[in-house]
């Protein structure tokens, strides 16, 4: 059983964001104690990680909410949930490609600047080198 602060530390999601996610219905299973304080179980932490994963690959909050509702609805929605996960994975793979391209560009620029500094030469006006 964890407080929101502990969940924040475990998941690396800020308390603010966790409360915001709670408010918009991302944690329908989290109980409260007699003082109205949220008590997260281990299973809730896993749930937070899933939400973090979906947000992390750019799924918007409305779609995440929809997925959560499908989970609650039960077995009849398994196929639909499978499709969502599959599409999300495909999206994430595209992001991976994009990120690798960006890393290549950053690597090129890092080396360019490093060489400029080492040889004490002047920068040439060419956007590729900026």
């Amino acid at each position: 059983m964890y407080t929101i602060k502990e969940v924040s530390e475990k998941t690396e999601i800020s308390e603010h964001t966790l409360r915001f996610w709670a408010k918009i219905g991302f944690f329908p299973f989290v109980k409260r104690d007699k003082n109205n304080i949220r008590i997260f179980e281990d299973a809730d932490i896993e749930w937070v990680k899933i939400v973090k994963c979906l947000r992390g690959v750019g799924i918007d909050n409305k779609s995440i909410k929809k997925y959560i509702e499908l989970c609650i609805k039960g077995d009849s929605t398994i196929k639909e949930r499978y499709d969502i996960i599959k599409r999300t994975k495909e999206k994430a793979l595209l992001q991976l490609q994009e990120l690798n391209k960006q890393l290549e560009l950053l690597d090129y620029k890092e080396k360019y600047y490093k060489n400029l500094i080492k040889t004490n030469s002047k920068d040439i006006w060419n956007p590729m080198n900026k």
Copy 2:
């Protein structure tokens, strides 16, 4: 020489966003024709791609603006620009790790659902499986 529409197609950045970026000073080198229409050169396209790359790895607009100003300032800022690129690259590498972790989770879930469908079994209430 390209119109904003062509730049949008070449860079996969919406015209809206390109105009927004222009407004906040991301393209200080783009000229206008006699009708006040922006004319992008090949070098400007490269520049757009660099901005896209920096935004893509989550650098905020204020920091991008600062980097652009350092570029304009000239050779005295080379070391500072090198540091920015280096830190950005490190940030992107962390994102790559994170994305790979997320892909692992999505892959696990995809397989889980696939198996549920194949064996026509029931979902077990466990957040790892949602």
